[in-house]
């Protein structure tokens, strides 16, 4: 199990890249179905290689839950080259402009990505 801050745990190996977390996070932000504002995003830009996981934007950090482990980067540094020589991920397109995770404050179910993950890849600590 991969463990990250803020009470949300992401197990990238359980993830199936279905994007339910991204969609419901967008709903939380926009009160509509939209993907532009989500602070949690399955990264899919390397789907051709079957290499995928989950990005989560926190207040100061970008959490990159990869199959091989979780990496936490300070916002800003996340745009630097990663160990593999690639950018953090293209699917993080406007990630730095998005609101950070607020654990779905004021939502009656609590963190919606946790509720809507069909395979329990995202859970609460």
């Amino acid at each position: 199990m991969r463990r990250v801050d803020m009470g949300i745990k992401i197990d990238a190996l359980k993830c199936t890249a279905c994007m339910a977390c991204e969609l419901v996070c967008g709903y939380h932000r926009d009160d509509a179905f939209a993907l532009l504002s989500s602070c949690i995003v399955p990264y899919r830009a390397r789907a051709k290689k079957d290499y995928f996981g989950v990005l989560l934007k926190e207040e100061e950090d970008l959490v990159i839950a990869r199959p091989e482990g979780v990496e936490v980067r300070k916002i800003g540094a996340a745009e630097e080259e990663s160990d593999s020589g690639k950018k953090a991920d293209a699917s993080a397109k406007p990630m730095l402009l998005r609101e950070p995770c607020d654990l779905c404050e004021e939502m009656k179910y609590g963190p919606m990505c946790v509720k809507f993950c069909p395979v329990d890849a995202i859970t609460l600590e």
Partner: protein, 440 residues
């Protein structure tokens, strides 16, 4: 249409290169609901121009479980009839978020063409540089040119360009659910393919009610018959063929799902990397994503190893040809070796077995998976159930495979979701009418 919809239909005339938009009228939705109900209507409206119509359902791209489906409606070169094939992964969702619920493509382009739909805009551009390229090369080229690896593509390879009856409209790099040869229609129109990307937004009439209902359904599904299972191997096992799962197992890397679909119907095999590898492979194409059942099954029946079968399916996807048709016709022609089968792609002819009435693609097995849906073992009852289940999935925008494994997704729950999401009173009588029209 104000809710669960972009409210727009895109009309593309490849002959004149004119692109126009029409409003998706409430009356049309009230009478035809959506998905295949409306793609058929649009096909008939433009029939004299031999259109290919793409569409999504009201539930496509929403939180309703399994909301991944888009439909391609056109006359099948295989059956000669108006047919509906699915496109899933993330492509249907990308079409809707790119700003259009429906796309009517009519006429024939003078030169190879690429249709680029993005953020409410559609452009037709020249595709001469990729005409003759395979599906992988073309998707790579378009993503590189447009600078976005998340662009979803619906496209043909050499099979569609050369007029094969078994040409598929592929999705990105992979086989689609097109068993009706609709890729040939793209080729006849000199349409190499479509790129999709968008960041749209759909309003929900009763947002809280809609989301509550989706969560209730997901909760039920998570304790249902498919819960805890993943991948194509489990589907084979549920269909009584656990040996296919076991035969494939040593190559399996990971399983992935189509958009918001709780069951991961896609299985990726590593062919040039260790399947246990977790870090990012250095090679660009370490393997192949298996997105359909029958090609692999047919190649196993011929006697190929799992690795040889997967490599051949990869070749099929690159060429843009239906792997299941390749397997069946190769068996009939007594071809047993990968190389000779691949060399036969260009000359592949014959008739293939297509269960069902030829309306909905039998990419989805004709029968329930994991759960029995309360059906008897009577074949005609199962076939009638399947035709209706597929119709419902194609109307609302639900993944067809997930629809036959999830009795929790009742017709009433879909109608209720539409009522909550749109405030439109669409009832069972309307649904029955649309299903009857699709069957007729």
């Amino acid at each position: 249409m104000e809710y669960l919809s972009t409210g727009k239909i895109l009309i593309v005339d490849l002959e004149t290169r004119e692109v126009t938009e029409e409003e998706l009228a409430d009356d049309l939705v009230a009478g035809r609901i959506g998905g295949a109900g409306i793609t058929k209507h649009l096909y008939e409206q433009h029939e004299e121009r031999d259109p290919v119509v793409l569409g999504t359902g009201l539930l496509t791209g929403t939180l309703y479980p399994g909301s991944a489906l888009g439909v391609v409606t056109a006359k099948s070169p295989v059956t000669g009839n108006l047919s509906h094939s699915p496109f899933t992964l993330d492509a249907a969702v990308e079409l809707k978020y790119a700003g259009f619920d429906y796309v009517v493509i009519k006429g024939v382009s003078e030169k190879p063409a690429f249709l680029w739909i993005h953020d409410g805009i559609a452009d037709i551009s020249d595709a001469a540089d990729v005409w003759g390229k395979d599906v992988w090369e073309t998707t790579n080229a378009w993503r590189k040119t447009l600078g976005d690896d998340l662009i979803q593509t619906l496209l043909i390879g050499p099979a569609g360009e050369s007029g094969s009856d078994f040409a598929q409209i592929c999705v990105n790099y992979w086989a689609s659910g097109d068993r009706f040869g609709l890729g040939k229609r793209f080729g006849q129109k000199r349409l190499k393919g479509i790129g999709l990307r968008g960041m749209g937004l759909f309003e929900i009439a009763d947002a809280e009610g809609f989301v509550d209902r989706c969560l209730e359904l997901l909760t039920q599904l998570k304790s249902g018959a498919a819960s805890g299972k993943k991948g194509i191997g489990e589907i084979y096992a549920a269909l009584g063929m656990p040996e296919v799962r076991d035969w494939l197992n040593s190559l399996v890397h990971r399983h992935s799902a189509c958009f918001n679909t709780p069951f991961a119907t896609n299985t990726y095999v590593y062919l040039d990397e260790d399947p246990k590898r977790l870090t990012e492979p250095e090679t660009d194409d370490p393997g192949f994503k298996i997105t359909e059942l029958f090609g692999l099954l047919g190649l196993k029946k011929i006697g190929l190893s799992a690795e040889a079968a997967c490599r051949l399916l990869k070749a099929c996807a690159r060429y843009g040809i239906d792997g299941a048709a390749v397997a069946e016709l190769s068996e009939k022609a007594d071809l047993k070796e990968s190389g000779e089968i691949e060399r036969s792609f260009a000359s592949l002819t014959g008739s293939v077995t297509l269960p069902g009435k030829g309306i909905f693609s039998p990419w989805c097995p004709v029968g329930p998976i994991f759960s029995d849906f309360g059906l008897s073992r009577d074949a005609s009852e199962t076939e009638a159930w399947w035709e209706r289940r597929q119709a419902v999935a194609y109307i609302f925008g639900i993944h067809p495979l997930f629809a036959v494994m999830s009795p929790e997704l009742t017709e009433e729950s879909m109608l209720e979701a539409v009522r909550l999401g749109t405030e439109m009173e669409i009832g069972r009588e309307t649904l029955d009418g649309v299903i009857a029209d699709l069957a007729g």
